[in-house]
């Protein structure tokens, strides 16, 4: 008995430590989903090397799909985490903003003609223009939040309504189609590389944000503003400026995600592109264990959360759930997550854990 007890205690301690780590939540969710898929259908994890219609080697399989389609979400999760941390609210206009930036990309590439044979501008120019436009819309949201002190979700509701209309207006409600092979590489595969390009773009964004968090004060400042903006302004920070900055960074993330989205189709559908992605992005932040009321955040957990969401989406698709009905399942997941992370529930849970925990040492004493 005695030899078993320390072992048991060590494992429980290890478990408690892991449980307290923030990144535990997305990892646990990922393992749960993986286990579910393993039992339901092991072929979910099969990865095959095939050839696409152009004769280039490509990897295919559900896992590759997750890595591929999860990239936009991961990129958005980066910006959304910063906005959540600094302003204590979420931006619900990201889907509409993606429609706008995608529309801008196509407008620049196609010029006035909606079906051009050749590109009217270099791709990099189109991308940069869309970055500027998306950052301007981010700045608009940021200004409403930081200067006029409107709750973030209500302020972004404006763009949420108008965004898709503006996107349609930019292209005169036409649906331009780009017939350029190079443009489609960004949303699919570069010839010769079997891994989808969006994954590399997402990887680059993740590396950049980690470098930025490590070598600048961005993370520290946005967290301190989120925790208490009065005391951080007493410490010489400008809360309005930092909130504004996070919204502009989110705008940049939106531009990158929008670029990938339009590149996938080489076209755009204003009412469907990036539909419900705001829900997924918020869900990614929540699943990463970050408080939706602002303050401390863990970027890696958010990004992992984004991929877990995509894992969930792909799993649901695999079981023939209609795309419109997906949101009902995700909503249930959100509700469960927020209930578990609510302070009152947490308190009750931790007191429950405490009631369970002290018994072991007391037993030893006896």
């Amino acid at each position: 008995m005695q030899s078993q007890n320390p072992l048991l205690q060590n494992t429980t301690n290890f478990f408690f430590k892991l449980f307290k780590r923030q990144i535990f939540i997305p990892i646990a969710a990922l393992l749960l989903l993986a286990l579910f898929n393993l039992i339901a259908d092991p072929s979910f994890f099969k990865i095959a090397l095939g050839y696409n219609s152009a004769g280039d080697p490509v990897l295919s399989g559900y896992l590759i799909t997750i890595l591929d389609y999860g990239s936009e979400l991961a990129i958005l999760a980066i910006g959304m985490t910063l906005v959540t941390a600094a302003s204590g609210g979420q931006d619900i206009s990201v889907g509409a903003a993606i429609a706008i930036s995608g529309s801008v990309v196509l407008r620049v590439l196609c010029g006035t003609n909606s079906r051009p044979e050749t590109l009217q501008a270099p791709i990099i120019v189109a991308f940069l223009v869309s970055c500027v436009v998306a950052m301007l819309f981010g700045a608009f949201n940021g200004a409403l939040v930081s200067v006029f002190k409107i709750q973030p979700m209500v302020a972004t509701l404006i763009l949420f309504t108008a965004g898709r209309s503006i996107a349609a207006w930019i292209n005169n409600n036409e649906l331009p189609i780009v017939k350029d092979a190079t443009f489609s590489y960004f949303g699919s595969f570069i010839p010769g590389i079997p891994v989808p390009t969006p994954f590399f773009i997402a990887l680059a964004c993740i590396i950049i944000i980690h470098l930025a968090l490590r070598f600048t004060n961005l993370g520290l400042y946005s967290q301190s503003v989120g925790i208490n903006d009065k005391s951080s302004s007493l410490n010489g920070l400008n809360p309005a400026q930092i909130k504004f900055l996070t919204f502009v960074i989110l705008g940049l993330c939106v531009a990158v995600a929008g670029f990938i989205k339009v590149s996938r189709l080489s076209s755009i559908n204003y009412s469907v592109i990036a539909k419900d992605i705001e829900m997924d992005a918020i869900l990614a932040v929540a699943l990463g264990g970050n408080a939706l009321s602002g303050g401390k955040f863990n970027m890696s957990a958010s990004i992992l959360g984004a991929y877990v969401i995509q894992f969930l989406t792909t799993t649901l698709y695999k079981f023939d759930v209609q795309s419109d009905a997906l949101s009902a399942y995700k909503a249930v997941v959100v509700i469960i997550l927020v209930i578990l992370s609510a302070p009152i529930v947490r308190e009750k849970l931790s007191s429950l854990f405490k009631a369970l925990k002290p018994r072991q040492p007391s037993k030893e004493g006896v």
Partner: protein
């Protein structure tokens, strides 16, 4: 002398009153003035259509459901919360009722009960999560919205028109407004009419106005919205009050859903898309503050009317492409939000100049 005194005291009273035109009344007055200016402007510049009484009634007919859910929205906004699940609930109610009436040969009375039950269920769950578990209202109701939309697709994914005779008879019932009809192109006199939904909406407005003005619960809503802490110290049960606001809001979403269903007579997953947005916009335009504690149901009614009038104007000017509606609503919402923000800063004794100065400085 006493006469002079009376006059001076009356003058003082007047001055006091003009001083009392603070946030609530100022925002309300702005809304009502904006509505009348817009409508009279439309009468003068666009003529014909807007001169008929039926145009106004048509605006009411088309927006009866919106009026009802906007009232609910104002209610939760007065307590300092928000509910964006209402559009989804409306879609779910109309789809459930449509499926029940057509596929299960149901009767209208049970359909009404179903819609009320759906609304109450949403109000109950959301209210519990928000009031008693202290979760952010936006997150809970965002999840509620997505849940309702998803459930609508699960109930039935294809849009269809309801053929149930009993229901169609109810849908076609019209309340004739005597003396306000007009003469159509063929030269016949056509009665002006409103639908039953409008009557329901006006009753809801009247009841809620009375509740907010005179009932204990209504005053508690304002107290909680103004300041949680002070309300608690005054002995108001804050959690229960919040819970009731969401419960009533859910019930109104159910009623609004059925009224909407009566207007369109079909079930579809894309019904009432953006309704929550319009409801929030109407409430804000009607002078309800997002920060809570300030608001008026009459203002909300005028908010809905202004919003739909501007849409009608946009349509009749010839900008009938769908995107203009979204852009005009968003622009109007933006404008009124900024007005609110300025009013708030004035309340805190900060001049508009200071706000702008601060804004400029923070941008630098």
């Amino acid at each position: 002398m006493s006469f002079l005194k009376k006059i001076s005291s009356a003058g003082n009273k007047l001055r006091d009153k003009s001083k009392n035109i603070t946030d609530t009344n100022l925002l309300l007055i702005i809304t009502i003035v904006v509505f009348f200016l817009m409508y009279i402007g439309a009468m003068i510049f666009l003529g014909s259509g807007f001169l008929k009484a039926q145009t106004l009634f048509n605006i009411l007919n088309a927006n009866a459901a919106l009026i009802i859910i906007s009232c609910g929205m104002s209610l939760v906004m007065i307590t300092g919360g928000i509910d964006i699940s209402m559009g989804g609930v409306m879609a779910l109610v109309s789809m459930s009722c449509a499926v029940y009436l057509d596929y299960h040969n149901g009767n209208v009375f049970t359909a009404i009960l179903i819609s009320l039950a759906i609304g109450l269920a949403f109000g109950l769950v959301q209210g519990f999560l928000i009031a008693y578990l202290d979760i952010q209202p936006f997150i809970v109701t965002l999840a509620g919205m997505f849940f309702a939309r998803g459930m609508t697709t699960i109930v039935n994914s294809n849009p269809f028109n309801v053929q149930n005779q009993e229901f169609v008879a109810l849908k076609e019932t019209r309340v004739i407004m005597p003396g306000l009809g007009s003469i159509n192109k063929a030269g016949n006199y056509v009665d002006a009419y409103i639908e039953i939904g409008v009557v329901v909406a006006l009753i809801v407005v009247a009841v809620l106005f009375c509740v907010l003005k005179w009932a204990k619960l209504g005053r508690e809503f304002y107290a909680v919205g103004g300041s949680n802490q002070s309300a608690l110290m005054l002995g108001v049960n804050v959690k229960r009050t919040k819970f009731f606001s969401y419960l009533i809001c859910g019930l109104l979403a159910g009623i609004g859903g059925f009224v909407y269903f009566m207007h369109v007579g079909s079930g579809s997953a894309s019904h009432a898309s953006g309704a929550e947005m319009n409801a929030i916009a109407s409430s804000i335009i009607g002078g309800t503050m997002l920060t809570g504690g300030v608001g008026n149901i009459i203002g909300t009614l005028f908010g809905v009317l202004s919003l739909s009038t501007i849409q009608n104007i946009v349509a009749s000017v010839g900008l009938d492409q769908a995107w203009w509606t979204g852009i005009t609503i968003a622009a109007m919402l933006c404008l009124f939000l900024i007005i609110q923000s300025i009013v708030m800063s004035r309340k805190n004794n900060v001049s508009v100049k200071a706000v702008v100065k601060k804004a400029v400085r923070s941008k630098e």
